[in-house]
Symmetry: C2
Subunit: 453 residues, 2 copies
């Protein structure tokens, strides 16, 4: 059999929360002003209670609402595929499996959380969601999700993407979202920045600040984030739960689980249900691959830091390059984030997840090989996972082992990146040491950090 596909009635009906498994536990988010642990009351201005409960939950299993499952079924359960042609091309004895999250209507894993977030907001009477998007994957996913639950959606899209990625904009528009280039005239943050610098290309940090301000000033509006947070990782656990069942059907168990890491949610979602096995002594490795040019896990510091440039978010305890680190313009926009999900960060600290980095040219090369062998063009982000899987397979090509990686999305909407690659316009960036040192020097001063780190 080439693909393993579950029946709809075999789909998981509960998400798996990996937080209780983390040996060293998680540090609480801190209030950016008081530096004290932040309770749900303050966060409830922009998040619904159900998501805040999930954010703080220590329950291992959380029911997936029927309404969320119904929307998941537009594309889920997703296939698990044995990449035999890739194996043959590599000449490896390793068995390589991938979980194909590119089958969603917007081509990535992002709707797994977007749908859940839209549902809980709707249930708690929220009328409108505000969010930011860089490359457009998260904005597309949330637009899809809000259209399914009859919510309005306002997307602050980083201006440079807004101008250069019109297709993503029209995907969101088709789903009925309201999209504005960020910085915009719609918020105080945006207006202030535009006044100083009318031609700014914008940044994800600015867009987050605008979306948060929008949610704060509109009574009917909440904010939604597409990665990093615990509840996002929780929702993405559907990937790992399905994959685990599918591997069982295939009669296999992974020796290595590989993922690409931006904010960390797709990788964490895949590995979550396998962590208990690891803790019970099963021999399994979890390897996360990030871009060498934005190396939060491999060159960052485990510390409390802000999620955005303007320091409006709670402080999260995570591997970070510093909240004002500006990564080079690599083509995997979804991996250009200064921090890493607290869950992934804690699993690295506890020596469960191994962090690695790869350069973009070797990733595109792997992506083209994958397209030619397996027939599916990966998103630039996903090529990092493919490169990672190839590295694992080729370490000792004669050693039989089973590799499972997350195919987080297809590349059909990101072909401009391949254009640049084929045109020879892309190059690898050297490790931005000096810049990282500078931005790490500007981490918020939190006394707690030192005792833990």
């Amino acid at each position: 059999m080439k693909k393993i596909i579950l029946r709809e009635d075999e789909m998981p009906t509960r998400w798996y929360n990996v937080v209780p498994d983390i040996p060293g536990g998680l540090q609480p988010p801190l209030d950016p002003e008081t530096k004290e642990p932040m309770g749900p009351e303050k966060l409830s201005a922009v998040f619904p209670m159900a998501l805040l409960e999930q954010e703080m939950s220590s329950e291992p299993w959380i029911d997936i609402p029927e309404e969320v499952l119904e929307v998941y079924k537009i594309w889920r359960p997703s296939p698990l595929v044995r990449a035999r042609k890739l194996e043959e091309a590599l000449g490896t004895r390793a068995k390589i499996f991938f979980k194909n999250e590119g089958v969603s209507p917007v081509g990535s894993h992002k709707p797994n959380s977007a749908v859940a977030q839209a549902y809980y907001n709707k249930r708690e009477g929220v009328k409108r969601l505000a969010t930011e998007t860089g490359a457009g994957q998260w904005g597309s996913a949330l637009s899809l999700a809000t259209s399914k639950f009859g919510l309005e959606c306002k997307v602050y899209m980083v201006r440079v993407s807004f101008d250069q990625k019109p297709y993503r904009k029209s995907i969101m528009q088709t789903f009925g979202a309201d999209i504005v280039a960020s910085p915009s005239q719609d918020t105080n943050t945006g207006r202030a920045i535009l006044e100083k610098d009318p031609d700014t290309p914008g940044s994800l940090g600015i867009a987050i600040s605008e979306a948060l301000e929008d949610a704060a000033i509109h009574d009917d509006t909440n904010y939604a984030l597409g990665s990093v947070l615990n509840h996002v990782v929780l929702h993405q656990s559907i990937i790992g739960l399905e994959a685990k069942k599918q591997m069982e059907i295939a009669g296999e168990y992974p020796d290595v689980i590989v993922g690409c890491c931006g904010g960390g949610s797709n990788f964490a979602g895949l590995l979550a249900p396998f962590v208990p096995d690891y803790l019970e002594g099963k021999k399994i490795r979890f390897v996360g691959y990030e871009p060498a040019s934005c190396p939060s896990m491999t060159a960052g510091k485990l510390a409390y830091d802000s999620g955005d440039v303007a320091m409006m978010t709670p402080l999260l305890y995570m591997y970070t390059l510093g909240h004002d680190f500006m990564p080079p313009g690599i083509h995997a926009g979804g991996l250009r984030y200064h921090g890493m999900a607290p869950i992934v960060s804690a699993l690295i600290r506890d020596n469960i997840v191994e962090p690695k980095s790869v350069h973009q040219l070797e990733c595109f090369e792997a992506g083209v090989l994958f397209a030619k062998t397996e027939g599916i063009i990966p998103a630039p982000e996903t090529t990092h996972a493919i490169r990672g899987a190839i590295i694992e397979a080729m370490k000792d090509p004669d050693e039989p082992k089973t590799i499972l990686f997350n195919f987080s999305g297809h590349g059909l909407i990101d072909m401009a990146a391949y254009d640049s690659y084929f045109a020879g316009e892309l190059h690898d960036y050297s490790y931005p040491k000096e810049q990282i040192e500078k931005s790490l020097a500007r981490l918020p001063n939190v006394s707690k950090t030192d005792e833990i780190d």
Copy 2:
């Protein structure tokens, strides 16, 4: 259950050939020079024998080679989905099902034939395929298929698309194809046209001529066509065979089957296996929807005509607007063809298929409604089938009936069309009566035509 998905081992292992079912039979293709029926010997210069046998076959069932099935399994079997949210939004009592062919790696049904064509060419020792592509769907599909069988692929892409649709070009490039803007310096046809008019935007007619010339002058090269021909319809019957099984599992049988029609292959592929039931007295309607601006079925003439502007192809007996009819620049590029598959044409003549036409604005409107209700953005071509299904559902909303339509492809690579729609730049074209009369007056003079038509 939302979707019905077959297991891989439930996939059809034979294609269904609807030709023997056609009450009035098919007219043979004619040699464009002698106007005599054209045997396989002359065509074998550009097609492999196996495809020519399929083209002429009167066998109802033809085995799908194992190697083709293996590649199909990258995305097949494809889902059958009940569009309940669309039904609710319409307030109809009709049950609407769609077969989702958008799940292929290039987002459309085209690889169903591309893979088979690449396989048979490879088996007969061909090293290289030449083809034309307009919007890029067929070129992408053939590039994918040739990459799977280790063939070279040369795509002549209409210049205006080559310049305006860089993403499609890079999809083909990722799969290893060689793409050139047509007219090109690579053929006599191309050079002659460029000499006269260096700034020509090109046309599908010119691109077909270039690809045919390429195949004719290179010993190792064959030609591949993505629609119209009988063997293409045969390969697309996998759509209908799966859908029929899936409808049985759903406990339903369609009262109406709807499709969009360009060259006719996706619609014919869906309806083919249902025709025998119709002939045995089952009450079922087959309704094909074409653009009102390119109305070969509803305003064309059933006659022998050429498949390309330069009249290099065999003459086919089909509904046609005349081989030099230039359709307006509507955004469903895949439906801008002057002729209709001989199989579909014969089924119209025999009063089995009902031809209808729709305007592009009502189609985009239907496409946006579909995206918001079902969560999947359709290709501009596919919106014609959706519009058709809605028309059928709303004829008498209180009458319970079951509608099945072919969702031939997703729109993620064609969002520029939606951009134009949202920007209010699109308009409907009135019926191009005068132009059709002119081009029909230039049909090739074939004495046979008159006695049959």
